[in-house]
Amino acid sequence: MKIQVNAKNRAYQFTAEGGQRILYAGLATGIKLPYECGSGTCGTCKARLVGGRIDDTWPEAPGRKYLKQPGEFLMCQSVACGDCSLEVPNFVYNMDPGACVPAICRGTVARPRLLARDVMAFSVELPVARDFDAGQFMVMRVPGVAGYRGYSMVNFERSAKKLDFVVKKKSGGGVSDWLFNGNVDGEQVELFGPLGSATFFPNLTRNILCIAGGSGIAGMMSILERACQEHYFDQYHGYVFFGVRSMKDAFYLEELSRYRSVFPQKLHVNVALSDEDVPAGAAQRYPQLAFDAGLVHEVAARHMKGRYQNIRAYLAGPPPAVDAAIRVLLLEARLTTDNIRYDKFS
């Protein structure tokens, strides 16, 4: 099916296969259509249908609350029924040379393992190697669950044949139920990506600040992996704030300790506990890490005072935590908006 997109600056044509989401078809052609979550929650990929017919695969998608005018729809949730033309009220460009152009791929789930009482890690092994940038995510479709959900890669390597993910348990969450209520080892999943613009490149030449809540640490681990591979923290500071409810909910503390032991001068890692005081023994168990009681954005604001020079911030986690961190970074730290990176999932 031929899809025509009329953008503010020009028109684009691409083809979509039957059942393929319009957004994914366009992105896979290398056209930078507007999106953030790619999974029906943020509303950023809204477009207006000018001609043809579309099928909305998820009429209850939360992102539909951003649709205001007749004919508007979410490109990430819609498939074309025949040729279509649509209008996007944005400036749209082709992807830059060297960008990791997203594509559909299938993979096999391997080594699902519990990291904390309600956090599961697993890998997806790919038959064909894929490239992605540190901080990016994939949308994933699992057997028996309708629709795609976004998960950030934890690992970082070029030509990756394995992608690592973490998922937090959420009752009533389709993918979460699939993962926590059965043995998923060896199951086939479908992925589309890589997606997302909260990316880190070693030519950034800025100190980096990562503020993550819960499973939001996933993308930060990829950023830290890439930065450590490149010895980025020989030259620049890295400030990592990882918020969890209690010590029982914390994970990746060994990995974070290992990164810090290699770059003890410039890499700083604070774990913020929101629901309990720092237990005695935490500091002895993880001598490389610092522990604080409080919400992660408050702990970050306390420690970062006076250290906001030349900072690029990366944020991830539950939307209220991300919003609170944005508030601190804009109003207190006075960062410019291009130095605050996150992908909105609400």
Binding site: R10, T44, P97, L330, I340
Partner: protein, 217 residues
């Protein structure tokens, strides 16, 4: 019409209540007394002028405010005062350009100009919707559209050589436009080079946004 009223000290400001990007309610955003930030994608504006800052790709429509006792009066300015091209230039110069503007109404389907027409005038959209097509006869393809009050097009009329039109401009719905003669506008700008410089800087970034690829931005 929804209006956002913000207070900074004793001063009041008024602007459109939804973000020009994704129709998000701006009252949920952040305001530091000068800069208004939409919480959704961090577009920012100077609330005194509506001028975009940082990531914002469009200006914010700001209204003039008068406080009289317990009442706040808000007035919507003309399209010329809302658009990106002329915001912030000297009041006298803007008034002179405004004096050159002729308001014209077009019915749905009305053509403003065709490919190859001489480019003597440029246009500022007041209301409605204008679409552009490039190519000729049956081999045409869409080349963008205008739908926001204050958007400027037909800017070839502001170039020295006044190249002929490269696109066809059609009103997709009943539209009101300000038509301004390019040479006359340039004369006004020449008499006030400081304002002229601001307008030319804005014009060049406007052209770049339409013509450039993302890597060249």
């Amino acid at each position: 019409m929804k209006v956002l009223v913000a207070r900074s000290g004793d001063e009041y400001f008024a602007c459109q209540a939804v973000c020009p990007h994704q129709d998000v309610a701006l009252c949920e955003g952040l305001f530091d007394g000068t800069v208004l930030t939409c919480h959704q994608h961090l577009w920012q504006w100077d609330i005194r002028s509506g001028a975009p800052r940082g990531l914002a790709e469009a200006p914010l429509e700001c209204y003039t405010v008068e406080v009289d006792g317990d009442s706040i009066y808000i007035a919507s300015p003309g399209a010329l005062y809302v658009g990106e091209l002329f915001s912030g230039i000297a009041e006298k110069t803007l008034a002179e350009i405004n004096a050159l503007a002729r308001r014209e109404e077009f019915t749905q389907g009305g053509t403003l100009y065709n490919v190859g027409d001489p480019a003597e005038d440029f246009f500022v959209l007041e209301s409605g919707r204008v679409e552009f097509l490039i190519g000729r006869d049956d081999r045409t393809s869409p080349a963008g559209f205008m739908l926001r009050k204050g958007e400027v097009f037909g800017w070839a009329a502001l170039l020295d050589s006044q190249p002929s039109r490269i696109a066809k401009a059609t009103c997709l719905e009943h539209s009101t436009l300000l038509r301004i003669n390019g040479r006359e506008a340039l004369k006004v700008l020449e008499s006030d080079p400081a304002s002229g410089y601001v307008v030319m800087r804005r014009l060049s970034s406007l052209i770049a946004r339409y013509l450039a690829s993302s890597g060249a931005r």
